[in-house]
């Protein structure tokens, strides 16, 4: 199968005065052409470092990386014609410019002739429902509109490989859906196009990606289709517990016999624990631990495993959990 992105023993170390941080610790990865490939991992896992190396903004400390068959270290000038990157929460460009002016400006850095560039911009603005904002100043856009504009910036130059770094972070549901829909549509137009996506949102990865790699502490801990990864927790019972707020309970629950993984998310004043049990009998021990904590049970639900559950099992904690730690 044709390879779009390949890394071999890729390692990146950041050095400051007295400190070394190993951001990537020997990443071996193959992404096939035409794939939507997700890179998942908690904060600090190395996702963004990986992307920044692949888009030629950062040199690896050792190892090799090839994008579209080109070496990111030695052939970076040629490679830059073939790729684009869009990051979530981007505030790039110039607020004084109108949307279509800003998009035109970025297209010129790739040498696009102005007339086709403007036609393409109009077409993409229309597709993403931004036509009415074409003459609005960038500084006046909502965050959702701004992110759609950023996505258009990434698409105008018709890259062979598009890198999306948390593209829907902080977007409302509708705007995030529009972004995902456009990514799908763009891929469908040409089967040789490839998307590499990092995301915090497991549902997004599950919905959008053909394959995913889970990265933790600079290493790939699992790789496969979302279905394959979910299969890894298929033999477990997944139980969600909604509890009233209280003291620390997560570590206690993790020590209960039969609990193989646990994560917690605080939402709307309720602690939502997600537990993976090796058998249903473990639920008794869980309930005793909850009673002992003095918390009120507000809901219990057994459900099918999700990619988030696979992530918790592989990484040892939930994606949102470390943000709230």
């Amino acid at each position: 199968m044709d390879i779009a992105v390949e890394t071999k023993a890729l390692r990146r170390v950041y050095r400051s005065r007295n400190q070394e941080v190993v951001a990537l610790d020997g990443i071996d990865l193959q992404v096939h052409r035409g794939e939507r490939f997700g890179v998942l991992g908690p904060n600090g896992a190395g996702k963004t470092t990986l992307i920044k190396i692949l888009v030629t903004l950062l040199l690896p400390s050792s190892g090799e990386a090839f994008v579209d068959g080109l070496d990111v270290v030695r052939q970076f000038r040629e490679l830059r014609h073939r790729i684009a990157m869009v990051s979530g929460g981007e505030n790039v460009g110039f607020g004084m410019l109108k949307v279509k002016e800003q998009l035109w400006m970025f297209s010129q850095f790739y040498g696009m002739p102005s007339a086709p560039s403007k036609r393409r911009i109009d077409e993409l603005l229309e597709r993403l429902g931004l036509s009415e904002a074409a003459d609005r100043r960038v500084s006046a856009l909502s965050s959702g509109m701004r992110q759609k504009m950023n996505l258009i910036r990434g698409l105008i130059t018709n890259p062979r490989i598009l890198f999306l770094d948390e593209p829907t972070v902080a977007l409302d549901v509708g705007a995030a859906r529009d972004v995902r829909d456009e990514v799908r549509r763009w891929m469908a137009e040409d089967p040789s196009r490839t998307v590499i996506l990092t995301t915090h949102y497991m549902m997004e990865a599950d919905e959008l990606c053909d394959r995913v790699a889970i990265v933790n502490r600079g290493r790939i801990v699992a790789e496969g289709t979302p279905a394959e990864l979910k299969q890894r927790v298929q033999q477990n019972s997944i139980v969600d517990l909604q509890l009233s707020p209280g003291g620390r309970l997560l570590d206690t629950l993790r020590r209960v016999d039969g609990v193989t993984a646990a994560s917690v998310l605080e939402q709307d004043g309720t602690d939502r624990f997600s537990l993976q049990l090796s058998n249903d009998a473990a639920l008794g021990g869980v309930m005793r631990a909850v009673e002992g904590s003095g918390r009120q049970i507000q809901g219990v639900q057994k459900r099918e495993p999700t990619l988030e559950d696979a992530f918790v099992k592989l990484v040892g904690r939930g994606m949102a959990e470390e943000e709230q730690a």
Binding site: H81, N91, V92, F109, G111
Partner: protein, 272 residues
């Protein structure tokens, strides 16, 4: 895969990067006050100093021409050389660096866009101060002076690219250095007095800045009686040599420091 030629991308980048500056100048006219009236006040203040000292009339011309070229120096330092520092913070630098264009083209675009404001500021100072204080110039030297002006500005922008490459690498430290160097540069370049007053050694050091020799040459051409620092022809040749040297050095430096910046993660806002 066929791509647009490197030259085409280079030229399109210059125009595209200049565009936001033209647009900003057009859409937000506050600069007409901050970039013309306020610097004019500074120039006029210096003129009053000379008048209070009963200096010869040509000294008023020194100040006016110094004020004119000061506009371009400030454009080079603040709107070009230090710009990557701000661009990095906004995330623009990542997008500039990963496009198949050159950072030199981005810098030239910034310079071109900023030159519009600088030209307006320079023209305002030249016209208003000259008319208000009756400064007269030798018409015979006007066209050669214009030629020297173009050479000087070219050398200045090449120096600006060299400084920008250093700023790209050293970031905040370099920005602070530029801030700290501002007054010494004004002094060494002889913005408000003939550079000959500084003596051979200090004037020689100041001559590393293209403005020093260019300004002195322009003064010699259109303000008869300007004390000669070095012969006019030598000054012009030196400015030409500076264009070549700074252009070459800036290209080498930009390439080298861009690579170092990729190595040391200075192009990106770090987040693992």
């Amino acid at each position: 895969m066929s791509h647009p030629s490197a030259m085409r991308i280079f030229l399109k980048t210059i125009v595209a990067r200049a565009y936001p500056r033209f647009v900003a100048a057009y859409r937000n006219r506050a600069w007409l006050i901050t970039e013309t009236l306020l610097p004019l006040v500074g120039t006029i203040a210096m003129i009053y100093v000379y008048r209070a000292l009963h200096a010869p009339a040509r000294f008023l011309g020194f100040v006016v021409l110094g004020g004119v070229l000061l506009a371009f120096w400030q454009n080079v330092i603040w709107a070009m050389a230090t710009q990557f520092f701000w661009d990095r913070g906004a995330g623009n630098l990542e997008l500039f660096a990963m496009a198949p264009t050159s950072l030199a083209a981005i810098l030239l675009g910034m310079a071109l866009g900023g030159a519009y404001v600088s030209l307006t500021r320079a023209a305002t100072i030249l016209l208003v101060a000259s008319v208000l204080f009756g400064v007269s110039y030798s018409l015979s030297g006007l066209f050669p002076a214009l030629g020297v002006f173009v050479l000087t500005i070219s050398a200045l922008y090449c120096l600006g690219m060299l400084l920008a490459s250093l700023f790209l690498f050293y970031q905040r430290e370099a920005w602070q250095l530029a801030d700290a160097m501002q007054e010494p540069i004004y002094f060494l370049s002889g913005f408000y007095f003939p550079v000959r007053s500084l003596g051979a050694v200090v004037g020689g050091v100041g001559s590393l800045i293209p403005l020093t020799l260019g300004l002195d040459a322009i003064r010699q051409l259109i303000l008869p009686g300007t004390p000669q620092f070095i012969p006019l022809s030598v000054e012009v040749l030196a400015v030409v040599a500076q264009i070549i040297a700074y252009a070459a050095l800036s290209q080498i430096s930009l390439r080298h420091l861009e690579r170092r910046a990729r190595q040391d993660a200075r192009l990106i806002l770090r987040s693992t």
